[in-house]
C-alpha cells in the first residue's frame, strides 16, 4: 500500500549558521523521502554551496511553488527566495541580510501551510539578534508563529524519542513564570499535549504533571500552587478522560518517564523541562571523547499548522565547515511527517 507522503516545508534558518547544512545532510538520507516530500525554503545558491562544501551527492531543483517539486531522493527541491547576495555573504556573522532572509523563509513556510500548499513546517535555527537587527522584533520562532497565525493558546513541547516535555511557560523570568501557573493554563497545556500525542498514534497518552515547588510542595509545606492550581487542573483533565497524574516532585519524575512510565511530563517553567531534556539529548561519545548532539526537537502545540524545529541554535562557530551533526533536523523531519499523518514510526 502506498503511504501518504506529506509535503514538509523546511525553512533553512540563518544561512550564516548550520541550518542549511543540517538540512542538506538530512536530505541526503533516502529514508527521509520514504516518509515525506521535503521542500527547502532558502536561497538556492546557499544550498548548492553547502552541498559542495559537504561533498554530498545531491543536485538542486530550484522551484517557485510547491507543486513544481520532484520530491525524489537525490534532488533537493528548493523554493528559491533569491535573498542572499553572494558577494557580501559570510558564514558565522550576524547580519541584517541573513537575518532578514531567515525571517522570510519562516514567513514563507507559515504562509504555504496556512494556504494548505504544504502539510507541515520544519524550522532550522535562526539568530535572534540578526532577526532583531533586520527589524523583526520577535523573541524567537514560537512568537513569530503565534503572531502570523493569530494564536493565543500555545505551548512549547520538546521531544527526544520517547522523552517529552510541554511547558506552562517558557521565555519569561522565574518570577513571572510562577504567576502563569494557573489552573486554566495548566489544563490547557495538558489538553494540547494530549491532542498532540494522539496525533502521533499514542492512543491513551500517559501524562505526568510536575509540581512547581521542591518535592511538589510536600502537601503545602513549601508552596501552595500544587494544591490551589495544579491538582484542580489534573482533576479537571481526568473528567475529560485524559490520563493525567500528579503533581509529581520535579526531581524524580523525569527518571520515571525515561523508564517508560509516562509519555510526557507537563513542566511548570522553562528550565524545569529544558534541563532534563537537553541533558538527555546530548550524547557523549566515549570513543571519540567528544559531546555529540543535540538530538531533540521542539514542537509548537496549539497552532493551526504543524511546526517542528531543531533543538539547537545557529552555532556561529561551525557554519560552513561541514562538521555539523544533522541528528536534530532528521528527528524534526520525522516528527513533522508523523504529525502530518505519514504513518511513519
Amino acid at each position: 500500500m502506498e503511504k501518504k507522503r506529506p509535503i514538509l516545508g523546511i525553512s533553512a534558518g540563518d544561512p550564516a549558521g548550520v541550518g542549511p547544512e543540517i538540512t542538506a545532510k538530512a536530505l541526503s538520507l533516502k529514508e527521509i523521502y520514504a516518509v515525506c516530500k521535503p521542500l527547502v525554503v532558502c536561497d538556492a545558491k546557499i544550498i548548492e554551496q553547502i552541498i559542495g562544501i559537504c561533498g554530498l551527492n545531491l543536485s538542486v531543483n530550484a522551484v517557485t511553488k510547491p507543486d513544481e517539486g520532484k520530491y525524489e531522493f537525490g534532488t533537493v527541491d528548493v523554493l528559491d527566495m533569491h535573498n542572499i547576495d553572494e558577494a557580501t555573504f559570510r558564514f558565522n556573522e550576524v547580519s541584517v541580510m541573513t537575518g532578514k532572509a531567515s525571517f522570510e523563509y519562516v514567513a514563507k513556510v507559515i504562509e504555504l501551510a496556512k494556504s494548505k500548499m504544504i502539510d507541515a513546517t520544519i524550522t532550522g535555527p535562526i539568530h535572534k539578534e540578526a532577526i532583531q537587527k533586520a527589524g523583526f522584533h520577535f523573541a524567537g520562532h514560537t512568537e513569530i508563529y503565534a503572531a502570523l497565525t493569530n494564536t493565543k493558546d500555545y505551548t512549547m513541547m520538546l521531544a527526544d524519542g520517547g522523552f517529552r516535555v510541554a511547558h506552562v511557560s517558557t521565555h519569561v523570568s522565574l518570577l513571572d513564570a510562577i504567576k502563569r501557573v494557573k489552573k486554566d493554563r495548566v489544563l490547557k497545556v495538558i489538553q494540547l499535549a494530549n491532542d498532540a500525542l494522539k496525533k502521533i498514534d499514542i492512543k491513551n497518552p500517559r501524562i505526568a504533571v510536575a509540581g512547581l515547588n521542591p518535592h511538589a510542595g510536600e502537601n503545602g509545606l513549601f508552596g501552595k500552587e500544587e494544591i490551589d492550581e495544579i491538582l484542580p487542573a489534573i482533576e479537571e483533565a481526568k473528567k475529560l478522560n485524559i490520563h493525567a497524574e500528579g503533581p509529581f516532585p520535579p526531581d524524580t519524575i523525569f527518571p520515571k518517564m525515561k523508564g517508560g512510565q509516562y509519555d510526557i511530563v507537563i513542566c511548570m517553567y522553562h528550565d524545569q523541562g529544558h534541563i532534563p531534556t537537553k541533558l538527555l539529548g546530548f550524547n557523549y561519545n566515549h570513543e571519540k571523547n567528544t559531546w555529540e548532539g543535540l538530538s531533540g526537537v521542539n514542537i509548537t502545540l496549539g497552532l493551526p499548522i504543524i511546526r517542528v524545529s531543531v533543538d539547537h541554535g545557529v552555532a556561529f562557530d561551525k557554519g560552513g565547515k561541514g562538521e555539523a551533526n544533522p541528528e536534530s533536523m532528521i528527528q524534526a523531519i520525522r516528527y513533522g511527517a508523523r504529525l502530518a499523518g505519514s504513518g511513519d514510526r
Partner: protein, 340 residues
C-alpha cells in the same frame, strides 16, 4: 604497625515506616563495608529484626550496644534509641509515633557525634510532616544539624562521581526564591563550597560554576534582572579576588553541553535546578552532603518512599555510597596535609 582505627559511622534508621531501615540493612549486608568502617545504627533492634525477616536477609548480624560508646569493631552495632512502646511498625504508613521515633534517634546520634563517640553521621530519610514538632520545627536534617552544631552557614551539597552541585536555596516555595537570592547569601554559600572542596575533597584550587536564576540566565536582562543586578557583579568580584568562580551559566545549556564536567563544584540557585540534573546524572550513586558543619554528615538522595516501603523494592546504592562518602570525607578532613 599500628592498626589505624576505622571511622565509626553513626547511621540513623530514619522513619521506621519508610525505606530507611531497608536500605540500611541491604547496604550493610555487603560485609566488605565492615573492613572500612564501624557502623553504629541508631534506632531499635526490634525494627531491624522486623525488616530483616520481612526482606529475608540472612547475612546480617548485629550486636546491641549495652554501654554508651562501646562498639564491637567487626560488627554492626545497634543503639536502642527508643523503647518497645514506640508504636507499631506498618511499612508505608505515615505515623506520629514513627515521626517521633525518628527524631529521638537523630537527636541521640547528633549528641554522640558532638561528644566524639562517633566520627560521622549518615541519616536515613525522615518524614518531614510527622517529625515536625515543637522540638523539631525544622524543614529537614540540614536545618536541624546546622543549628545543633551552631554553624553560621551550611550548604546542601549533592555529590556524585561526575557532578557536585550545591544549593543557594533549599526547601522553600519557588515564589520566594527570587527574594532569597541576595549577594550575601550567594557569597556565603560560595565560601562554604570553596572551603569544602579544599578540606573535604582535597582539591587545592577549586573551580566553581554559578548558574543563573532565569531561563537563558536572564538573556541580558530580557528574562529577569537578578543575573545582571546580583549574580554577575558578585562573580566579577570573586574573580578580582583571585577565585576561580565562573558564570552565570544558563542552566539548560550548562548541563546539555557537559560543561559541568569541567568544574569541581556547581552552585545552583534553587532545589530543582540542582536536583533535576543531579538525579539524571548521578542516578543511584548520588549522596547529599551537608557542607559547612564542624562534623561530617551525609545521606542518601531519596525520601521515605512510603509507596514501596516493605516491598523489597528500594535500592540501597545511594545509602551505601553515603556511608562510603562519610568515611572518605572524615579521612580527608583528618589527614595531616599541606594546604587546606
Amino acid at each position: 604497625m599500628t592498626q589505624i582505627q576505622k571511622p565509626r559511622i553513626g547511621i540513623t534508621l530514619g522513619d521506621y515506616n519508610g525505606v530507611g531501615p531497608e536500605v540500611v540493612i541491604k547496604a550493610l549486608a555487603d560485609n566488605r563495608l565492615l573492613n572500612l568502617v564501624t557502623p553504629v545504627l541508631y534506632g531499635s533492634g526490634k525494627v531491624i529484626s522486623f525488616y530483616k525477616k520481612l526482606l529475608n536477609v540472612d547475612e546480617f548480624n548485629f550486636s546491641q550496644v549495652r554501654n554508651k560508646g562501646q562498639f564491637a569493631p567487626k560488627s554492626i552495632n545497634v543503639v536502642n534509641s527508643w523503647g518497645d512502646d514506640a508504636g507499631e511498625i506498618i511499612p508505608g504508613k505515615a505515623s506520629k509515633e514513627s515521626g517521633k521515633a525518628s527524631f529521638i534517634a537523630l537527636k541521640q546520634a547528633s549528641e554522640e557525634l558532638k561528644e566524639g563517640i562517633i566520627d560521622a553521621l549518615v541519616t536515613a530519610p525522615i518524614d518531614k510532616h510527622t517529625i515536625h514538632s515543637d522540638e523539631f520545627p525544622f524543614k529537614g536534617h540540614t536545618e536541624f544539624l546546622t543549628q545543633f552544631f551552631e554553624a553560621s552557614e551550611s550548604l546542601m551539597f549533592m555529590i556524585s562521581e561526575k557532578l557536585r552541585v550545591g544549593l543557594v536555596t533549599e526547601h522553600i516555595p519557588v515564589k520566594d526564591i527570587a527574594a532569597a537570592i541576595t549577594k550575601e547569601k550567594i557569597e556565603a554559600k560560595l565560601k562554604v563550597m570553596d572551603a569544602s572542596l579544599r578540606k573535604d575533597f582535597g582539591i587545592i584550587k577549586p573551580k566553581i560554576a554559578v548558574l543563573g536564576l532565569n531561563p537563558h540566565a536572564g538573556d541580558n536582562g530580557l528574562l529577569g534582572l537578578e543575573e545582571e543586578q546580583i549574580i554577575r557583579p558578585l562573580i566579577s568580584d570573586q574573580k578580582n579576588k583571585g577565585r576561580l568562580v565562573f558564570g552565570p551559566f544558563p542552566a539548560d545549556g550548562f548541563f546539555a553541553a557537559g560543561t559541568y564536567l569541567k568544574y569541581d563544584g556547581v552552585l545552583a540557585m534553587y532545589h530543582d535546578q540542582g536536583l533535576v540534573p543531579f538525579k539524571s546524572v548521578a542516578f543511584e550513586d548520588g549522596v547529599n552532603f551537608t557542607a559547612g558543619l564542624p562534623v561530617v554528615r551525609t545521606s542518601p538522595d531519596h525520601g521515605t518512599g512510603y509507596a514501596i516501603a516493605g516491598k523489597n523494592q528500594a535500592h540501597e546504592g545511594s545509602m551505601r555510597e553515603a556511608i562510603y562518602k562519610a568515611a572518605e570525607i572524615f579521612k580527608h578532613r583528618n589527614e595531616p596535609s599541606k594546604e587546606k
